[in-house]
């Protein structure tokens, strides 16, 4: 079965420190991978995606993600965390036709 895993329910990081939110996937064929952010009482917002090409993908708000095919991972990163980055982050994979599989979400808390 195809799946996306986010092994950490919550990640705490101090403001100014680098952050990593982990994601691993299991999908057939070429993976299409996404990161979304959800702020309280809001819908999900697209951050970045990997389709093909360079393994390091840059996205909105200074976030980037590294695709690693051998480890089937797509970790979200940011060099310097902001308090305003605190939110719920979802990794997702495009699978088959028009179908997306979402991870269970990771709550990022950036401490001032």
């Amino acid at each position: 079965a195809q799946s996306v895993a986010q092994p950490e329910d919550q990640v705490n990081v101090a403001e100014g420190n680098p952050l990593t939110v982990k994601c691993t996937y299991s999908v057939s064929g070429n993976p299409y991978l996404f990161w979304y952010v959800q702020y309280p009482n809001r819908g999900l917002q697209f951050l970045l995606k990997y389709i093909t090409g360079d393994n390091l993908v840059k996205g909105s708000y200074g976030f980037e993600a590294e695709f690693n095919k051998s480890q089937t991972s797509f970790h979200l990163k940011k060099p310097s965390a902001l308090v305003s980055d605190s939110a719920l982050y979802f990794c997702a994979a495009g699978s088959g036709t028009y179908k997306y599989i979402f991870g269970t979400g990771t709550r990022l808390k950036v401490l001032a």
Binding site: A93, T97, T104
Partner: protein, 115 residues
């Protein structure tokens, strides 16, 4: 202008009632979706429509019936509401010539509470 809008934002109703949630997108997208987010924040796809045609139905009870009158609208009707239907429902859309390589645009969500 709101790209993907949903109405109502909040919906409180009793068990056994029938209710509808409306979704509209003004992005010119061909594909629209309904997702359910439960109390643990798990997000699961329910339906997907492409050019008004149903293409994904993820083992959702028959009490849920999506309707797409045109490409810009995808409504969700729920019959005989149950306590377990309480959740936040998100509508989303993705660009023309869609496939799973395109990002989705989400509405603000409709929080449904069944008492």
């Amino acid at each position: 202008d709101t790209a993907v809008s949903q109405t109502p934002k909040y919906l409180v109703t009793q068990m056994g009632n029938d209710k509808s949630i409306k979704c509209e997108q003004n992005l010119g997208h061909d594909t629209m979706y309904w997702y359910k987010q439960d109390s643990k924040k798990f997000l699961k796809i329910m339906f997907s429509y492409n050019n008004k045609e149903l293409i994904i139905n993820e083992t959702v009870p028959n009490r849920f019936s999506p309707k797409s009158p045109d490409k810009a609208h995808l409504n969700l009707h729920i019959n005989s509401l149950e306590l377990g239907d309480s959740a936040v429902y998100f509508c989303a859309s993705s660009p023309p010539a869609s496939g799973p390589s395109y990002e989705q645009y989400f509405g603000p969500g409709t929080r449904l509470t069944v008492t």
